[in-house]
């Protein structure tokens, strides 16, 4: 008895040693909190810098300087049935000269004056009239974008203080531009063309519609393949496969594949889909296939983890009342795992959306001036479009590159938003 009593420690909870110890424990806690806070501030800071610099560089691309020009089509004498072949060039040229009062200038000066407007002005007018033939019967006004140097001038990117021989617009052109401004026909509306136009050689006309459609179809293909295949593979491996050397080997390989650089998948796609199967180059179908290969391992891993995280009591509950394995999986386990699978899928797709290297390898950096209407139409994708534009010398593409990145980021945010929305909806069902 006494031996036991001797072994019982008495603690003086108010001793200095214990107090000091307690203090240092609290200090450790405070430090941990501080580290966490610093980390978050860092992360947010970098995010702000990224978005901030993109916005500063890119916001100007969201406006486009345009001129509205009155054109009287009633006097043009164009044949309603042969609009495609009509002489739009001279008609539009005349109207453009008129608006700036430049009809009386010499040929060479006229040409310098016309440089102010986009080269494609005639086609823009033609397309608008074809879209709305009622305009043939009267006077109506058309919106013509200014060409890139004058767009930049209007936005202050080209300074009037630069010596004339060092800037892309000469003093006479500036004078003509100022005259148009004074006339009140110049404006800077929101640049819908950035979203709804396809790519173009001319920055003032270049837009992301082609890239967006290409990315859209690629992601559709990627999802249609990787989602069902990934889930099926994960279910098989997690619920049905025997645990032996072969399944271990498969598991190791899947984990390794998830770490393979995407450019390798691009090379694989080039060799297999283009080389052996002879699928068309630059097609979103091939892009989607390659992206699916790339996302599959991640998706399988995410799905397996989420299947594993469903408590086994649920599985036993289902099996215990005579549900078959298939019913236990599809009625109980998979629905419970679905929120995580959804999140994983959308995050994988978001990663696929931003993937550039494999798409470059299978030629999805083609210069296409039309949008893709299906998975076989050659096109670019958002990241490859960014790549192309960032490589273009024209001034207008600098801000457009940043703007395109912002658009891509907006899509990523949208996808993550959908992921959160879906997850919450699924969770509410339980």
């Amino acid at each position: 008895m006494s031996a036991v009593q001797q072994n019982v420690q008495t603690v003086d909870w108010h001793s200095d040693a214990i107090k000091a110890r307690r203090k240092s424990r609290y200090a450790a806690e405070t430090r941990l909190k501080a580290y966490g806070l610093i980390a978050i501030v860092f992360a947010l800071g970098f995010l702000t810098i990224l978005i901030g610099s993109l916005t500063v560089k890119g916001y100007k691309a969201f406006e486009q300087t345009v001129v509205s020009v009155e054109i009287d089509l009633a006097t043009s004498g164009f044949d309603r049935d042969k609009l495609m072949d009509a002489n739009w060039k001279s008609l539009v040229k005349k109207a453009l000269l008129e608006v700036g009062g430049a009809e009386s200038l010499k040929k060479k000066e006229q040409k310098a004056y016309l440089d102010m407007f986009t080269d494609n002005a005639a086609y823009l007018v033609r397309d608008q009239v074809i879209a709305d033939p009622a305009r043939l019967s009267g006077k109506s006004s058309f919106v013509i974008p200014l060409s890139d140097p004058f767009d930049q001038l209007a936005k202050g990117e080209i300074s009037r203080d630069t010596p004339e021989d060092q800037r892309r617009v000469n003093d006479r052109q500036i004078a003509a531009f100022d005259q148009l401004v004074a006339k009140g026909v110049v404006s800077k509306p929101f640049n819908w063309g950035l979203i709804f136009n396809a790519d173009s050689r001319f920055p003032e006309l270049a837009g992301l519609a082609g890239a967006i459609s290409g990315s859209f179809w690629s992601i559709v293909v990627c999802f249609a393949i990787s989602f069902p295949v990934g889930i099926a593979a994960a279910i098989y491996l997690e619920e049905f496969a025997p645990k032996n050397r072969w399944t271990d080997l498969i598991e190791i390989n899947i984990n390794n594949l998830a770490a393979v650089p995407s450019v390798v998948f691009g090379l694989l796609g080039l060799a297999v889909f283009l080389g052996w199967f002879g699928l068309p180059r630059s097609a979103p179908l091939v892009g989607g296939l390659v992206l699916a290969l790339m996302t599959l391992p991640t998706l399988i891993i995410v799905t397996r983890v989420s299947l594993k995280s469903v408590p086994s009591s649920i599985r036993e509950a289902a099996l215990g009342i005579g549900a078959s394995k298939h019913e236990a999986i599809f009625h109980h386990i998979l629905p419970l795992a679905m929120p995580t699978v959804m999140t994983g899928t959308i995050i994988s797709l978001a990663r696929a959306l931003g993937e550039t290297a494999p798409l470059l390898l299978i030629g999805m950096n083609a210069f296409m001036t039309s949008t893709a209407h299906g998975v076989f139409d050659a096109s670019t994708a958002l990241p490859t479009q960014i790549y192309i534009w960032s490589d273009s010398p024209e001034r207008g593409f600098v801000s457009r590159t940043s703007a395109a990145i912002l658009v891509l980021l907006a899509f990523l945010v949208l996808m993550n938003g959908i992921a959160i929305f879906l997850r919450q909806r699924f969770e509410r069902r339980w």
């Binding site: 009591s313 649920i314 036993e316 009342i321 005579g322 549900a323 009625h331 339980w430």
Partner: protein, 271 residues
């Protein structure tokens, strides 16, 4: 009670074969988890419309044996079962046996309440639905109501059948699980420590329930509570270190067991 008196003599010989009143019969049941043997040649009979209690110290293989009876052990990768277990004279480990049907006939209630994260109604209706036991929605409603009534839960939940089953209290959840098991009209119900997570009142409620269920079902229950075994069961089987020590009328086991080990365990001297 006099039924027990009648059976006392024959229970002494451990494995009376092919009696019509034996619902399930285990012969030489051995179970391995990988290289580790968890059960050694267990011979145990489960009688029709009787509550059989499995008792014994922790880790002695009670759950393992219970899970053999509806082949729940199939879901454990490295688990191997040998010997023979019959249900109404039919070997349940026979290749011809459909395990889905077996588990519908031999239902199970687990130690931890495990309702599906769905509505109370869906929890009970799920079994009848997958087995096609209801011909109409009204039929199904009826099954759900009777099952919940049998589980003594109806009056508490009848106004909130569409609320999630996971929102109930622990005791209610366990009764919901019993209702879920009852809803498929099994012949045998296996219960693995069904009251271990419950307070005394909920426990009393479940025990009452087991009493009532006995007239329609054959029940095997694992329990760590000697009082509970004495209260609810007519037959008791004592396990120790993977062996069946003895199996007899509950009265006999608790008053005058044949084996010293049983005596010691019941008196709380080990386990």
């Amino acid at each position: 009670m006099n039924m027990m008196a009648e059976t006392t003599t024959e229970a002494k010989q451990v494995q009376p074969m092919s009696e019509p009143s034996f619902k399930m019969l285990g012969r030489n049941v051995s179970v391995h988890y990988g290289a580790k043997q968890a059960l050694f040649n267990v011979n145990l009979a489960v009688r029709q419309n009787t509550v059989t209690a499995l008792i014994g110290p922790s880790g002695c293989g009670k759950s393992t044996f219970l899970r053999c009876l509806n082949r729940m052990n199939d879901t454990i990768d490295n688990c191997r079962v040998s010997g023979e277990i019959t249900l109404d004279g039919q070997d349940i480990y026979d290749a011809a046996i459909d395990v889905v049907e077996l588990r519908a006939r031999v239902g199970m209630v687990f130690q931890k309440p495990n309702p599906f994260p769905k509505s109370i109604y869906e929890n009970v209706a799920y079994g009848p639905r997958i087995h096609g036991l209801a011909r109409s929605r009204a039929d199904l409603d009826q099954i759900v109501e009777t099952s919940l009534q049998k589980a003594g839960l109806w009056s508490e939940v009848k106004d909130r059948l569409n609320e999630p089953g996971t929102g109930l209290s622990g005791g209610q959840q366990q009764r919901l699980c019993i209702a879920r098991a009852v809803a498929v009209s099994p012949e045998v119900i296996l219960m693995d420590e069904p009251c271990s997570a419950l307070d005394p009142i909920a426990t009393a409620r479940v025990e009452e329930l087991i009493h009532e269920l006995r007239s329609n079902f054959t029940i095997v229950i694992v329990t760590h509570s000697m009082q509970q075994a004495a209260r609810v069961s007519q037959r008791t089987a004592m396990f120790h270190l993977g062996n069946l020590v003895e199996e007899n009328d509950t009265d006999k086991i608790f008053t005058n067991p044949d084996e010293q080990r049983t005596q010691d365990y019941i008196m709380g001297r080990f386990g």
